[in-house]
């Protein structure tokens, strides 16, 4: 059963790398914010799976709960910050 959790966590890591593409190459700031939010909501599941693998789920639940709240606060603060700013259309190409 531990192997199932291990491979599930591995697949989640692959999906997080796929979401990281959008937050690195996203055309606007809010696209990057979407990528970061998706990675954060996958990280909560990853923390729970790590707790199951280590057999210390009672400890990792608190970390996952705190991480979910922290991720929400970070995304909300960034969204509230960028809605005051104009010019989200174009970013200069970083090359």
């Amino acid at each position: 059963m531990v192997n199932v959790f291990l491979y599930t966590a591995l697949f989640l890591c692959i999906l997080m790398v796929a979401s990281l593409y959008r937050s690195v190459f996203g055309p606007t700031v809010l696209d990057r914010l979407i990528g970061v939010n998706a990675i954060g909501s996958k990280t909560v599941i990853l923390l729970l799976l790590i707790g199951l693998i280590y057999g210390r789920l009672d400890m990792f639940v608190d970390i996952a709960l705190a991480y979910a709240l922290l991720n929400f606060v970070a995304v909300l603060a960034a969204a509230r910050y960028f809605q005051k700013r104009k010019g989200l259309y174009e970013e200069p190409p970083y090359k």
Binding site: V4, L30, S41, V61
Partner: protein, 110 residues
């Protein structure tokens, strides 16, 4: 406890399918607003299924401490169902107030 294991594996696979759909949508959709559509919904449902699988798998060896931990895990589900749509709405609001134009069929070549 074979039944619980089968249910846990099924829930994990269903959650992974939803997460895969969400990641593909974030990668493939043309526009910022349409990318929020998979990011907002499929991540919420995938998180729900996978957290439920973890909570069921924790109950495999039954004790009252395990029940308490599973209740705490279900609290994560409640938080995710409140927080994830709120974050999505905040991002849409930021884009709308900054004046970003939604994607239409005319910009298909871009």
């Amino acid at each position: 406890m074979m039944v619980i294991n089968v249910v846990v594996i099924l829930l994990l696979i269903c959650g992974l399918v939803f997460f895969t759909g969400g990641a593909l949508g974030i990668l493939r959709f043309p526009d910022f607003y349409s990318r929020l559509h998979p990011a907002g919904k499929m991540d919420t449902l995938g998180s729900f299924l996978m957290v439920l699988a973890v909570a069921l798998s924790n109950l495999n060896d039954f004790s009252w401490a395990a029940v308490l931990t599973s209740l705490k895990i279900l609290l994560i589900i409640v938080f995710i169902f409140i927080l994830n749509p709120t974050a999505t709405h905040a991002i849409v609001d930021a884009g709308f107030r900054a004046g970003m134009r939604p994607w239409t069929k005319k910009d298909r070549g871009k």
